[in-house]
């Protein structure tokens, strides 16, 4: 095949491709309808409710931005926001460090590698409610197995989730246990896609494993680490099941994150208007944080 005959057919392919591209929308239409119904409609309706005084029964008068203004002066909401950010920061940093470490380990070949990796992934696949219940039993101050294990190595017992000072660190521990595998998998995918020649050259030059990790692996998989980090931030902000089951925001309000407060406002106090306003603000927060991280990454790649 020479260039002169290839060219017109390629051009024909281009225009045909464009026409076909439009026709392929038919395939997405049914899903688009459903997505509009269960994702888009709730969004529009949430915005609508957030500017009304909407309780489950009675009138629903238009109140403008009153619900949003209320949030500005609502200390309970502000504390929930602070707790959410503290919880998120810790539940991103720890799984990231452990996840990258795990990915490096699981990227080298060893015996029982497959089964070890599968076991490592189990916490993120297991039903969150089920594991939260078992953690709750392990945290029991008198009869829990964790305090017994601490006592065997001579560490005084902890109150775990039953004390306002230790509840957030304890929940971070559960979140780390549960979600480190996801970081590991994403970073492992990155390591698997790396070229082998830099490593071969480094081995010839007598580089140590740490030097290879620091100067070859880390820079090359950095984009994957950022993706894992963004996903982790989103998931940590959204954490609900384990916190709800283990503490329900307690003791007192010591572990009440935005998501828990949101649930209480909408489905325990049935203040749907205020709850909707919180949803909107919470979503904007999540979007801003995740977009900020992606922009930061793009800037980093350019420099």
């Amino acid at each position: 095949m020479n260039a002169s005959t290839a060219e017109p057919s390629a051009a024909a392919m281009m225009t045909r491709g464009r026409n076909y591209a439009r026709r392929y929308w038919v395939f997405a239409a049914p899903a688009a309808v459903v997505v509009a119904a269960v994702i888009l409609f709730p969004w529009i309706f949430t915005l609508f409710m957030s500017v009304h005084d909407w309780k489950v029964s009675g009138d629903t008068p238009f109140v403008g931005l009153a619900n949003y203004k209320k949030m500005l002066f609502d200390e309970r909401f502000q504390w929930a926001a602070i707790r959410t950010f503290v919880f998120t920061a810790a539940s991103v940093i720890l799984p990231m460090i452990l996840g990258v470490w795990a990915a490096v380990c699981f990227s080298s070949k060893f015996r029982f590698q497959g089964i070890a990796r599968t076991i490592f992934v189990l916490p993120m696949m297991a039903t969150p409610v089920a594991i939260a219940l078992v953690w709750t039993m392990m945290f029991h101050p008198q009869l829990g197995v964790l305090n017994y294990l601490l006592s065997t190595v001579g560490i005084p017992p902890s109150a775990w989730v039953y004390d306002a000072h230790t509840v957030i660190p304890t929940l971070v521990m559960v979140e780390t246990w549960q979600w480190t595998p996801l970081v590991m998998l994403i970073v492992l995918g990155g390591i698997a896609s790396l070229p082998t020649d830099p490593y071969e050259a480094a081995i010839l030059d007598g580089a140590s494993p740490w030097q290879m990790f620091r100067h070859i692996t880390l820079p090359l998989v950095f984009p994957f680490i950022v993706v894992a980090g963004v996903i982790r931030v989103i998931d940590a902000l959204k954490a609900f099941d384990t916190i709800y089951v283990i503490t329900l925001g307690g003791p007192g309000n010591a572990s009440e994150t935005i998501n828990i407060l949101l649930y209480q406002t909408a489905f325990a106090y049935y203040d749907l208007g205020y709850g909707s306003a919180m949803v909107v603000v919470f979503f904007v927060m999540i979007l801003l944080v995740s977009m900020g991280l992606l922009v930061a990454r793009r800037a980093e790649v350019k420099t």
């Binding site: 409609f41 080298s108 076991i119 039903t127 039993m137 959204k238």
Partner: protein
């Protein structure tokens, strides 16, 4: 040479030690879960704790099914997760194909937004909607809301798979006079079967695990298993054996599926960073 070998030996040792450190929290956790579920009540509340059930008993599991009507909750969960996964495949596989073929990356952004949105934010409006429609207390609202989880997972994974397929085969079919539907049905779909398997497993697991939709939308008879287990906690605070047994019943299908299909699951999770709710 010798020093090199010593260094290699220590590197190996370090690796095995690291792996042991990494997997032991998961191993110990699930062993303790099983231990709680298989012990009688006096052993479960003993201090220092009894680690190995002696003799192991199935009384806790019998208790769960007899006292808490877990059979009907299991059926609820099966109905909801299978329907939500099946519908998501019917909708999501063609959608993934259409988006991949039309190179409509903007449509993929919508899926990402669904991934970012907290599950609770769908619930307030949908709760009201289902109330107006008089559907609270049936399984339909649960199936519909679970689509929020399953459809994005299926579409996301299928876009990736269809983009990876070579276009020549379908083009050959189109040249031979096939319609685009036939090209999809008879050429692309069979080739994408591994992708469909991955999408099915992940959509099913994340629907099965979902708690938040059930806790708001399920009535007394329409509880799914995660909600039912949570209710065991609230009513039987101290009785750990049945609680652990119930937790094990809920999560056992998922753990088994993960162990059996680990290759598919790892592939799917690596590609998308998918997570439900």
């Amino acid at each position: 040479m010798n020093r090199h070998r010593v260094r290699r030996f220590f590197a190996r040792l370090g690796l095995y030690f690291s792996v042991l450190m990494l997997v032991s929290p998961a191993i110990l956790f699930f062993l303790w879960m099983a231990s709680l579920a298989l012990k009688n009540e006096s052993d479960n509340t003993a201090f220092p704790p009894v680690f190995i059930p002696n003799p192991p008993t199935l009384a806790n599991f019998i208790d769960v099914f007899e006292k808490n009507d877990f059979l009907s909750y299991t059926i609820n969960s099966i109905i909801v997760s299978f329907s939500a996964t099946g519908l998501a495949l019917l909708l999501g596989v063609p959608a993934g194909y259409g988006i991949a073929k039309a190179k409509a990356t903007k449509a993929a952004v919508l899926i990402l937004i669904a991934r970012v949105t907290p599950g609770l934010s769908y619930l307030i409006p949908l709760f009201l909607l289902f109330q107006w429609l008089g559907m609270i207390g049936t399984l339909t609202p649960l199936v519909i809301t679970h689509l929020v989880i399953t459809v994005p997972i299926v579409v996301w994974i299928m876009i990736g798979y269809f983009e990876g397929l070579p276009a020549e085969l379908e083009e050959a079919a189109l040249v031979d006079g096939a319609t685009i539907w036939q090209a999809f049905r008879h050429v692309a779909l069979p080739l994408a079967r591994p992708g469909i398997t991955v999408a099915t497993i992940l959509a099913f697991i994340f629907s099965w695990n979902n708690f938040i939709f059930g806790v708001v939308l399920a009535g007394r008879t329409t509880r799914t298993l995660p909600v039912a287990v949570y209710n065991v906690l609230t009513f039987e605070q101290i009785s750990w054996g049945p609680l652990a047994a119930a937790a094990l019943v809920v999560t056992a299908p998922v753990l088994l599926l993960t162990l059996l299909m680990q290759k598919e699951i790892v592939a799917g999770l690596t590609a998308g960073g998918v997570k439900g709710g």
